[in-house]
């Protein structure tokens, strides 16, 4: 399954695009669609696309176990999860807590409005969060009579923005999410466009292998049976891994998948293991070379009122928890104006490059190596998440 972040201004047609992708790839649950179709038939009405968007919204609200901001759809090639970014706060929170993480983004721009503040903010945020590849969709082409000139004009402006942010543009596609032009089906109204549809572009994306090797984090240990989450690679009985932060070598004696003993498992998977040496909550077992430090430089996204230098907070990275202090705020970028400045504290919406110090060594990776071990959250005394961090 490939995660895609949906970026762009809230009024530029995100919900309609989600609806269109789900509808045209036939990913909407049958029962709900049938119920609406029956009503439309009984009342002699034509089923409009707005009804499908409504139905999808309802479906998402009902799926309480799934984040409301996530939508699933399937093409012939693979499954996708589309992560809507309603506000940067929600997205960073999801990202930092591991609920969602996308490598690719779709940046949606309304052709009649062009680039707006929120477009810039989301593009900037994408860059900061490691979404380096962006598919640009210029939406609402139907409102400009599918004119090439209008598309080129907006496309040029978006190109300039992406170049400035050093984001790679995978494609720039003229679409009408409402009428379905160039989303899943090729538009007959834009003969001048010879490129691929959005779904064709999505299907051509290569997930790319990360460098990280077999890694698992220990969640708990009861009487010698450790519960762990395998985040990367394959694990097999007899394998020897380095247990961080102590850096001792540990041998895997037994693997339990549910209540079944297995010889081998693949990530991602929650498992139970027995090892020749005791492991405890917060330990990380890996074949990769991981960092263990109590002082490091990181990017911090402030999600609450204030983060102050030298104040004590709690840092959580998977199952590792440490006391943490921001020792120095080196620079701050405000999401309001995207300008870099010096500051003594971070306030809501600020993104800072900071030096963090923890009371004990923390095991982490950098983003390129293993993104799961490169993100963390900062909590206040009440246990509320007040910042998200990514170690690049």
């Amino acid at each position: 399954m490939l995660s895609i972040a949906l970026l762009g201004h809230v009024d530029h047609g995100k919900s309609t695009l989600i609806g269109r992708l789900v509808y045209d790839t036939k990913s909407l649950p049958k029962e709900r669609l049938e119920e609406i179709e029956n009503v439309a038939r009984a009342l002699g009405q034509k089923l409009e696309f707005a009804h499908v968007v409504d139905a999808l919204e309802e479906e998402r609200l009902e799926q309480k176990t799934i984040e409301a901001s996530q939508t699933f759809f399937r093409t012939k090639k693979r499954e996708y999860v589309l992560i809507d970014v309603p506000g940067h706060k929600e997205y960073i929170k999801n990202m930092a807590t591991g609920a969602s993480f996308a490598k690719f983004g779709i940046l949606i721009v309304d052709v009649t409005k062009g680039i707006e503040e929120q477009t810039k903010r989301h593009a900037f945020l994408a860059k900061l969060l490691g979404i380096n590849n962006v598919i640009v969709v210029i939406n609402k082409m139907d409102l400009v009579n599918y004119k090439k000139k209008k598309f080129n004009l907006v496309c040029k402006k978006v190109n300039e923005l992406l170049e400035k942010l050093k984001l790679k543009k995978v494609a720039c596609i003229p679409i009408s999410a409402y009428y379905g032009d160039n989303v899943v089906k090729r538009s007959k109204k834009m003969d001048w466009y010879r490129g691929r549809t959005l779904v064709e572009v999505l299907d051509s994306l290569k997930e790319g292998e990360e460098k990280g090797k077999t890694t698992l984090v220990v969640q708990d240990n009861y009487d010698g049976l450790a519960f762990a989450y395998l985040i990367k690679g394959s694990l097999h009985v007899g394998q020897k891994l380095t247990c961080y932060p102590e850096k001792k070598v540990v041998r895997i004696e037994e693997i339990l998948d549910g209540d079944k003993k297995v010889k081998r498992v693949d990530a991602p998977k929650a498992i139970a293991i027995k090892t020749n040496k005791k492991v405890k909550r917060g330990d990380v077992l890996s074949l990769s070379k991981l960092n263990t430090k109590s002082s490091f430089r990181t990017r911090l996204f402030c999600l609450d009122s204030k983060i102050i230098e030298n104040k004590k907070y709690k840092l959580r990275l998977f199952t590792q928890e440490r006391e943490a202090e921001v020792k120095k705020i080196e620079s701050v970028v405000s999401l309001k104006d995207l300008k870099e400045k010096k500051a003594k504290h971070l306030k809501l919406g600020d993104i800072g490059i900071v030096k963090l110090r923890t009371n004990h060594k923390i095991v982490y990776s950098n983003f390129e190596e293993m993104r799961e071990l490169a993100r963390f959250v900062i909590l206040n005394r009440k246990g509320q998440i007040i910042a998200g961090g990514v170690i690049f």
Partner: protein, 231 residues
């Protein structure tokens, strides 16, 4: 000709959200039904017809759906040739309303599917709609047509906007097809979503094709307004 489209359970907020200009007409708003202990369909429509609060009188009955006013107790007494289609408290089709209440109960007892329930509701709606359009061919001074579609579908599906949008569009299309000197669209109460289901809200909806300039009128105020207009 005066035309009253009595849309049971039509919700003010959905009319706005779906941007249904044909239902909003020239003047529209919420009605005040706070004087009633509960937003009961029979009580509200009867009070609308009589121009006064009939709650106490109706609630004395064991089965309030047996309540029926005499025409002389309603604003129809001021008109020589009038027509009231399926109007609760005056000409309502007892058997059909009883069947719908029974089906609703059956659904919650898991003996009936929504599809089966909806089918009966649509049949009732179709019947009222045909009767209404036929009545327009005759020379009535006033016609009041009752459509329980939004309320009946709403009880099991008000939380599903996708479905309710279609229902509201249907009610709008009826309103748009007819012209009258004075056209009043009125509901007894609105609805609020309870999950996918719907419950009665404590206000109603009204709209007219003439500027009334009234704010938050009571449902019982309309009897006088209708009479004034006819004069």
């Amino acid at each position: 000709m005066i035309l009253i489209l009595a849309y049971d359970g039509l919700e003010y907020n959905y009319v706005g959200e779906f941007n249904l200009k044909g239902l909003m007409q020239k003047d529209f708003g919420k009605t005040d039904i706070s004087e009633f202990s509960e937003p009961r369909t029979m009580v509200l429509w009867s009070s609308f017809l009589a121009g006064k609060n009939l709650e106490k009188r109706i609630l004395k009955l064991k089965n309030i759906w047996k309540f029926k006013l005499k025409p002389k107790e309603t604003f129809f007494k001021h008109f020589k040739k009038w027509k009231a289609i399926d109007v609760p408290g005056l000409t309502h089709k007892e058997e059909e309303h009883e069947l719908e209440r029974k089906l609703l109960k059956m659904y919650f007892e898991e003996n009936l599917s929504i599809k089966e329930y909806d089918k009966i509701v649509f049949e009732h709606h179709k019947e009222n709609k045909e009767e209404f359009f036929k009545s327009l061919e005759e020379d009535y001074e006033i016609i009041m047509a009752y459509f329980p579609l939004a309320d009946l579908i709403g009880h099991l599906s008000f939380g599903l906007k996708s479905k309710m949008r279609l229902v509201y569009k249907e009610l709008e299309s009826i309103a748009k097809k007819v012209e009258a000197d004075f056209k009043l669209i009125i509901s007894d109460h609105g609805m609020k979503a309870v999950g996918r289901y719907g419950d009665h809200s404590n206000y109603g909806f009204w709209s007219t094709n003439k500027k009334l300039g009234t704010k938050n009128p009571k449902i019982t105020d309309f009897a006088t307004l209708i009479l004034n207009f006819s004069k």
